[in-house]
Structure formats: structure tokens, C-alpha cells
């Protein structure tokens, strides 16, 4: 293959004028810094686009596109603007059908880079100097908003009152996402400074996230509680009901057992504290655990299928010992000014710790911020369905925010009859693209030699290795019109990625492309997936290794694998295409390799 011509995965087949049948975006309706969520256009062939299966694996309904706009698009762009990140104006999104691709916007003039650098220092330094107080303030703001929304009794409100709540909920959602990116850019700078310093003084940058591991997060506490509930299920003899049968009637089957109501009492107490979370970021159409605890019940069932429990205390203690041993070893290799700089960078990152926050914030922002919007939307839908404007409350998921606001405000450019008529087509469109999701290419557009945005490298895993694999694939697949991956991966038995957590394991692979299939994972298997998020964490208690298409040193799978002490390789680009469920594979988490044995 030629090294000169750029590799392009054409976006052509995804080019649309409308985001969904019957929806044209109103021009200038939102104050975007750099650009809203759009369908692909031919001009997008000039740039790279990464499928964000890390955050959005199943596709977006129209109502979720407003929350996506707020989050990864507007929130990232405003955050990058206010913090003044010098090389990037944040991320921007395109949809292939209903599926999310992410790109970045470079700052391309020297004057702008310099001006942003100057204000970046002014903005970031005081926050890093006292990150504890700063995060306590932001977390407090988010928590008080949740206290407000969670305590509203929507069932007794009138339709105008609910409409007001929905507007408030959207406003809060947008604010939460600004906080997300403000904090993220500040912490990323701190982390990456440590990373580059480590490289400069003869350590490896990839060690840095290990130096910062071992902190307890909301999610490790959730897992610990789920294991405790599994133990309790054994003690109270309700485990059989949790391990068999359909989740729909699991509750009633448990309740019928002699100690069933005791166990359900503990489970409900768990939900009241840990249940305000949904399975995917920005998804209005997915219930919280409090609404539908099926994912939590599955986790308990999976833990029960493992003969012994998991000692979180011991695992964390061992992870901390390993971390401290690595820090000590690093210190022994250094002296003088380099040791001093290392200690200062470490101290700064221990208080303003991106590796910790990258997990912890999901509970306060990613997996929770859209729940007030969802609740108010469904409640409003109930009124509208009883008035005959729509046939089902969930029909509102298939209207865009701009359409709903227009018709609700009575401004009168659209009627309920027109909107209602489009909903069946849109439901079909969503289902069509949901099925196509797993076969979409991991990247579209022109695959670059390097990606300058450090977040894309460390969080999304767009390393040189990843890009090289993608370019190789594009070359191999260029002659065929099918999915780029299919032709490029035939006959491949060894793949390379980022060595995220050490150890060597051989075992049977289980390929999972969406979190909804996580219950298929059997104890002792090796998980192979696009990427993991916090909802995948319970699986780490039963798997023996983890392999992901996406990801860098800071991705969820890397962090959690280290906590659980299992080998992990991320950023392989093609693992889910090369490996099939049932394959026997060998994962080397130190070398960053995965080999298909049979």
C-alpha cells in the first residue's frame, strides 16, 4: 500500500440534509461556539471522525440529540473556550444515521493559540492550587440541583407546571455539561503535564495513571454494595430467583420466597442511594436503575454465578501497595531536581487527580444529568397522550427539543398533527440504525498521521498505533465496497494496543458490542468490546482479562482493570472484528498484545 496518499473512509453513504426524517435544523437557533450536532456532509471527508461507542453505543433518539448537543458538543466547546485550551476548540459531533461520531476543532492561527495560552494560565492555576475546595463547590452545585429535581412530585403538578420543570431541567443539563468540560480540561492539563514530565525524566508516561490509582469512587462503592447484596442473597437463600428466569418478573419471584421481602428491602435501600443513574450518557430514552433495576439485578446474578465473593478491601489494598511500590521505584530512579519535580507533579496530581475524577464525575454528570429531563418529558407525555395529542408518552422521545418547544410555546409554526404523523417513521429509522450500529466503521473521513488533541489520545485512544492500524485497514479495504474492517482483518491473529494493566492470561473470549448484552458474560471469560464505561464495571469482578477497540491510559477499562488486578489491552482498533466469541485468546497486558490461539 502507498504511504503517500491519505487514507479515507468515505462518509458519502451517511450524507443527509436532515437529522431525522422531516427535521431540518433551524439556523442559528443555539449559540454554538463552533458548531452543533449535524448529519455528515461531503466536506466531512476532509477530516477524521471517531465513532464514540465509548459513550453512545446504541444510537440517539431525536430528544437525546438535544442533550448530546448540550454535552459533547456545546459543553466541550464552551469549556475549551472559557478555560482557553490552546490547541483545541473542543469536540464536534456528526451522526451516521443515529450514531455518534466525534471530531475535534483545531485552533489554527498563532495569535489565537498565544492568546488562549495566556488566559489558560490565569484560569487554571488558581483552580489547581486548591482543587479540593473548587470541586466541592461544583459538586455541591450539582447536588443541590438534584435535591431540587428529585424532590418534585411531578404526578400532582399541572401541565404548565411540568412544562416549567422541563425547561428548568434542560437549563440545568446544559450547565452540568459546562462544569464537566471545565473540570475535565483543567485536570487533563495537570495529568498530561505529569505524563510529559515522566517521559522527560526517563520514566514512562503510561505509568502515570498507575501512580494515581487506588482512590475509591462512587462506582467502586456501588460494586462493593452489589457484591454485598449477592452475599446477602446467598445467606437469605434467594439466589436461584436472581440467576434464572426473565428479569420482568424477577421481583415477584423473589418476593414469593421465605426471606424474599427482606432481601428486596436491602435492594431498595441500595437503589435509593445508588439508583440515580442511567446506562448511557445523554440517553433520554433509557430508564434509571431506580426506574428499572434490571441491570443491577443482572449484576447481582452474575456475581452469584461466581463461587466466591470478591474481597474489595484486599483488592484495593493490593492496588494501593502496587501503586506505592511503583512510586517508590520511580523515586529511587531519580535524584536532585528531577526528583523534586516528580514529587511536585505527583503532589499536584494527587490532589487534582484526573484518574479518579474521570470515574467519579460520571455519577454526578454523565449518567445522571439527563434524568430530570427524562422524568419531566415522560410526565408531560402522559398529559399529552391523555389529551390525544400523541398516542404514547414515549412518543416525545421522537420529537426534537426545538419542535417540542415550538409547539408547546404556542408560537404555532408546527401543529401536533404534523408532529404526530412523523413519529412512526422516526421510530422505524431509530430501529433500522440500532441494528446497523455494531457494523459501523470505527473511524470515518481522512485518517490523520497524528492527532494533536491530547484528550483524544489519552481518553479516546487515538494513539499512533491506533491510527496506523486504521490506515492499514483502510488500505486493505479500499478496493471493496463493504465495511472497511471486514476485508482488512481477515487472517489477522495478533493485534497490538496500549498496555493498560499488566499480567498474562489465556482464556475464552466473549465479544460484547453493547452494554445491554453484558449479562451474557460468563465467569472466567475474557471480555472483548468496543470500550467500557462505568455500567460495565460489575463485569470486571468475573472476567479474567479485558480487551477494547478504543481507549488510552485514562480510559475506564484501563483504570478498573488495574483496580481489579486483571490484564487489559485497550486501543486495539480492531479486536471486536478479529476476535470471535468462543475463540481461545492470549492477552499480554504488559506487551499490549492479543493473540488468537484457536
Amino acid at each position: 500500500m502507498s504511504g503517500d496518499s491519505p487514507r479515507v473512509f468515505p462518509v458519502d453513504e451517511f450524507v443527509r440534509e436532515e437529522l431525522y426524517p422531516g427535521y431540518k435544523q433551524p439556523f442559528g437557533s443555539q449559540p454554538f461556539v463552533a458548531g452543533p450536532v449535524r448529519p455528515f456532509s461531503l466536506a466531512d471527508n476532509e477530516r477524521y471522525w471517531l465513532r464514540d461507542s465509548l459513550h453512545f453505543s446504541e444510537g440517539m433518539v431525536p430528544a437525546s440529540i438535544a442533550t448530546l448537543d448540550d454535552a459533547q458538543t456545546w459543553g466541550a466547546q464552551l469549556g475549551a473556550e472559557i478555560v482557553g485550551v490552546p490547541p483545541t476548540r473542543g469536540s464536534v459531533n456528526r451522526l451516521a444515521g443515529t450514531h455518534v461520531y466525534i471530531g475535534t476543532i483545531d485552533v489554527d492561527t498563532q495569535w489565537q493559540v498565544q492568546a488562549r495560552a495566556a488566559r489558560f494560565g490565569q484560569y487554571v492555576s488558581p483552580i489547581l492550587a486548591d482543587f479540593g475546595s473548587y470541586w466541592a463547590m461544583r459538586a455541591g452545585e450539582l447536588q443541590s440541583a438534584y435535591d431540587h429535581f428529585d424532590n418534585l412530585d411531578l404526578h400532582v403538578m399541572s401541565m404548565p407546571e411540568i412544562w416549567t420543570v422541563l425547561k428548568d431541567a434542560y437549563a440545568f443539563h446544559r450547565r452540568a455539561w459546562f462544569i464537566h468540560f471545565e473540570v475535565m480540561y483543567v485536570l487533563t492539563a495537570n495529568y498530561l503535564a505529569f505524563y510529559e514530565l515522566a517521559e522527560e525524566i526517563g520514566l514512562s508516561g503510561s505509568q502515570v495513571s498507575s501512580f494515581l490509582s487506588g482512590q475509591q469512587t462512587f462506582y467502586s462503592r456501588t460494586d462493593e454494595e452489589l457484591w454485598r447484596l449477592a452475599e446477602l442473597a446467598r445467606t437469605l437463600d434467594v439466589s436461584s430467583a436472581l440467576m434464572t428466569g426473565s428479569p420482568a418478573d424477577m421481583r415477584s419471584r423473589i418476593a414469593a420466597l421465605p426471606h424474599g421481602t427482606t432481601w428486596l428491602g436491602s435492594f431498595d435501600k441500595f437503589l435509593s442511594e445508588f439508583g440515580q443513574r442511567v446506562e448511557e450518557t445523554c440517553r433520554i430514552d433509557t430508564p434509571s436503575w431506580a426506574e428499572d433495576p434490571t441491570p443491577a439485578l443482572y449484576s447481582v446474578g452474575a456475581f452469584l454465578s461466581k463461587p466466591t465473593g470478591f474481597d474489595f478491601h484486599a483488592a484495593r489494598a493490593a492496588a494501593i501497595a502496587e501503586r506505592d511500590a511503583q512510586i517508590d521505584a520511580a523515586r529511587r530512579a531519580l535524584n536532585g531536581a528531577n526528583l523534586s519535580r516528580f514529587n511536585q507533579a505527583l503532589a499536584s496530581n494527587q490532589t487534582a487527580n484526573f484518574a479518579w475524577w474521570n470515574e467519579e464525575h460520571n455519577y454526578l454528570i454523565d449518567r445522571r444529568a439527563a434524568i430530570p429531563v427524562r422524568r419531566a418529558t415522560l410526565e408531560l407525555g402522559t398529559w399529552l397522550a391523555s389529551d390525544g395529542e400523541i398516542s404514547d408518552p414515549t412518543d416525545l422521545f421522537f420529537l426534537f427539543k426545538a419542535e417540542l418547544f415550538d409547539v408547546m410555546s404556542g408560537a404555532g409554526t408546527t401543529s401536533w398533527a404534523e408532529l404526530r404523523a412523523m413519529i412512526p417513521d422516526r421510530r422505524a429509522y431509530f430501529e433500522h440504525w440500532r441494528e446497523r450500529g455494531p457494523s459501523l466503521p470505527p473511524m470515518l473521513g481522512t485518517i490523520p498521521e497524528v492527532v494533536p488533541d491530547p484528550i483524544m489520545i489519552e481518553v479516546f485512544g487515538l494513539s499512533g498505533q491506533f491510527l496506523e492500524t486504521m490506515r492499514g485497514e483502510a488500505g486493505a479495504g479500499a478496493g471493496s465496497s463493504g465495511a472497511p474492517g471486514a476485508a482488512g482483518t481477515a487472517g489477522v491473529t495478533e493485534i497490538r494496543g496500549f498496555p493498560a494493566a499488566k499480567g498474562v492470561v489465556e482464556g475464552v473470549a466473549r465479544v460484547i458490542t453493547t452494554v445491554g448484552d453484558l449479562h451474557l458474560v460468563e465467569p472466567g471469560e475474557i471480555l472483548v468490546c468496543g470500550g467500557t464505561t462505568t455500567e460495565w464495571t460489575p463485569a470486571f469482578g468475573i472476567i479474567t482479562a479485558c480487551v477494547c477497540d478504543t481507549g488510552g491510559s485514562l480510559t475506564h477499562a484501563a483504570i478498573v482493570s488495574r483496580e481489579y488486578g486483571i490484564p487489559c489491552v485497550v486501543g486495539t482498533a480492531i479486536a471486536t472484528q478479529v476476535v470471535k466469541t468462543g475463540d481461545r485468546i492470549r492477552v499480554d497486558g504488559q506487551a499490549g498484545t492479543v493473540r488468537v490461539l484457536a
Binding site: P86, A189, N190, A317, A318, R332, A337, Q344, P454, G565
Partner: protein, 374 residues
């Protein structure tokens, strides 16, 4: 043997490190040199040698030389060893010796049966100059009564076999194969701490020997030592005794005695104490002055010192020193020079611009975002 098994603190000197562990040996020496420390006694490592029957020791040796892959297996081995040690009944001569020492302590402190103590592991190999074993072994705070003390003595001994401690030992050495008699246990009166924390006779981050750093929180010191809070932080100029910086930490939790559990537990800090510094400036300066003298007594090696302020005593009688040890971060590596032979001495002048402090923002602009001219 029984007269060797338990030793009052007043009889312990630095030279006893080989039987009571460096931690208790230094504390005994500190008391003998006139510093105010909590009274107590030590159960010696020798006692353990006479305690575990041969078959139990054989089993331990087997567990710790067994090949282990990954922390899961290490944890399983450690669990077995811990359960084995915890389950061994103490011989009557050792129970009697502890009971006698405890009766003497109850009478010396005048607290009788109401006396609460800290039961602390004191590892003989704890203070390797290269590897800091800080916090690797267990401490139990708030224990009272002989039966409970005996139980926690066993737990302390057993804690030498946690996966945590073992991972450390396998990496950095220590007894190998793991011997069973290298942990002693200290039993010390629990100082009813209003505030507690640590003091360093140099800046642990920069290595600057010209300052003393004090960190503390309300309540017992475990919240600071375990790194669970952002403590209050002071730097004090050692030559002038002047407080150079004072930063009140975002202290959200504290270690406090819980009457329910009879133990010191981590709990939310009462609202009226958050945002309040846990020491007065006089107390900060006093702790630093004493810390400098402790360093002097320790042959000038920089020290890491734990202190506590007793709730019910007037200052400065209220200031107790709980332990001290060489500060490992800097003494393990090259101690930064304050002057260069044959060149101009820098002394306490501003730092050489060629040896810059690390500023994450400037570094990120230059090396991460690669902004020209930054």
C-alpha cells in the same frame, strides 16, 4: 522467657529495636530523653517465636514460599496465613505477662479499667531506608480491657501477613522467606486527641531543609496519616521560627472515638470545625521547635514525626509525640545541596532558576500543548 515477653516503655531504649521494633524503640528513647509520649508497653517479637507451634510455623513458611501469580493469589495466601496466626491461642505465660503489664499501666495512668489504648504493630524490618513501610501494618485505636488487648495483639501479629504487606515484602525484601518473628506490638495509652497530625523536619515535597512542615486535622491522627483528608498545612522557617505559610485544608472528615463501636472511626467532621485551623500558631511553632530537637537527637537525619494535642491538658503539656522515623522520600535519594563546593553558596537564597520548581500549567503549555515561546 516470660520476663522477656512484655517490656514497659520506661525500660525501652533505642538499642532495643531488635526485639520491640524501631518504632517502639525510638518511642522509648524519646521518653527517656524527656519528651512527652504516651505511656505503655511492648510485646516483643521474641514472644512470637515462643508462641507459634512448630507445625504452624512450617505451614506459614510453606504459604509464603508458594509461587503466587497476581494479587488474587497473593491475597488468598495472605488470608490463609492471617487466619492461621489469628486462630493460634496465646500461651498462658504470655497472657499473664500482658495482664501484669496492663495492670501496671492502668495504675500508672490513674485511669484504671477505663483506660483506652492504641495497639500498634511495630515491625522489626519497618524502617528500611529505601522502602517506606508507612501504614503497612495495622493499628487499633480505642481498645480497652485485657481480653480485647490480647485479641488485638494477635490481630496485629497477623496483619504482618496481609497481601498488602506481602506485596511490599516480596518487592523490597525484608525477611525472605518470610520469617514469623519479625513483628512486635506496642500497647500505648490513647491520647484523647483534640487535634493530631504529622511534622516533617524538611519540606517533603521540595526537600528544603530550611523549613519544617506541619500537617494536621481535628481529632485523632489517622485521618492525616492515611491520607483521607486534605489537612491543614503550615511551613515554618526553622532558623527564625516564623510561620511562612498557613493553609487551612478542606477537612471534611475526622477520626473520632465512637462510643457505639468503642473504636476510633472516620466520620464527617462537625460543621463548626470545618474551615477552622486545628492548631494555634503557638502550637505550630512549638511542634516545629520540638521536631527540630528530635531531629538533632536522631543524629541530624530528617524526621517524620506524629504528634497529638491532648484535649484536657493546658498547652504546652498538651503536646504529645507518638512516633518518629527517618523521612524516607529524601533520605533515600540525594539530599538536595544547599551549597556547592567551590562555588558561591546559595544558602536560603531564592532557588536557582536553572533548577525550577514544577509548575503544571507552564509545563502543560510548553510540553503538552506545545505553545511556541511559552
Amino acid at each position: 522467657m516470660s520476663q522477656d515477653a512484655v517490656v514497659d516503655l520506661s525500660a525501652i531504649r533505642a538499642s532495643d529495636a531488635g526485639r520491640v521494633g524501631p518504632k517502639m524503640a525510638r518511642l522509648g528513647q524519646l521518653a527517656a530523653d524527656g519528651w512527652q509520649v504516651p505511656d505503655g508497653y511492648a510485646v516483643t517479637a521474641t514472644a512470637l517465636d515462643g508462641w507459634l507451634p512448630a507445625e504452624a510455623r512450617g505451614e506459614l513458611a510453606r504459604l509464603f514460599t508458594a509461587p503466587a501469580q497476581g494479587h488474587g493469589e497473593l491475597t488468598r495466601l495472605a488470608e490463609q496465613a492471617r487466619a492461621l496466626v489469628e486462630s493460634q491461642p496465646l500461651p498462658s505465660w504470655l497472657r499473664d505477662a500482658v495482664a501484669a503489664a496492663h495492670a501496671r499501666l492502668e495504675s500508672r495512668t490513674g485511669r484504671g479499667a477505663g483506660l483506652r489504648v492504641a495497639v500498634r504493630s511495630s515491625a522489626l524490618s519497618e524502617d528500611g531506608q529505601a522502602a517506606s513501610f508507612a501504614g503497612q501494618y495495622e493499628t487499633y485505636l480505642g481498645v480497652s480491657g485485657v481480653a480485647d488487648i490480647l485479641l488485638h495483639v494477635r490481630k496485629c501479629w497477623a496483619s504482618g501477613f496481609s497481601a498488602h504487606a506481602l506485596a511490599y515484602r516480596r518487592r523490597f525484601g525484608g525477611a525472605s522467606p518470610v520469617r514469623v518473628h519479625d513483628l512486635a506490638v506496642g500497647v500505648l495509652e490513647l491520647v484523647d486527641a483534640r487535634s493530631a497530625g504529622v511534622a516533617f523536619t524538611l519540606d517533603p515535597v521540595t526537600g528544603d531543609r530550611g523549613v519544617c512542615v506541619v500537617e494536621g486535622n481535628w481529632g485523632f491522627g489517622e485521618s492525616v496519616v492515611s491520607g483521607q483528608v486534605s489537612p491543614d498545612h503550615w511551613t515554618v522557617d526553622r532558623s527564625s521560627g516564623r510561620v511562612l505559610t498557613a493553609r487551612t485544608g478542606a477537612k471534611l472528615t475526622w477520626a473520632a472515638f465512637s462510643p457505639d463501636s468503642g473504636r476510633v472511626v472516620l466520620s464527617p467532621l462537625p460543621g463548626d470545625l470545618t474551615g477552622q485551623p486545628c492548631l494555634s500558631e503557638d502550637e505550630v511553632r512549638y511542634i516545629c521547635a520540638q521536631a527540630a530537637r528530635i531531629e538533632e537527637a536522631a543524629a541530624g537525619v530528617p524526621q517524620d514525626i506524629e504528634w497529638a494535642i491532648a484535649r484536657d491538658l493546658p498547652f504546652p503539656d498538651s503536646v504529645f509525640f507518638l512516633q518518629h522515623r527517618p523521612e524516607t522520600t529524601w533520605t533515600a535519594g540525594e539530599v538536595p545541596r544547599t551549597e556547592t563546593p567551590g562555588t558561591e553558596a546559595h544558602g536560603t537564597e531564592p532557588p536557582d532558576p536553572e533548577e525550577p520548581a514544577f509548575d503544571p500549567v507552564k509545563y502543560a503549555l510548553r510540553h503538552v500543548f506545545k505553545v511556541p515561546g511559552s
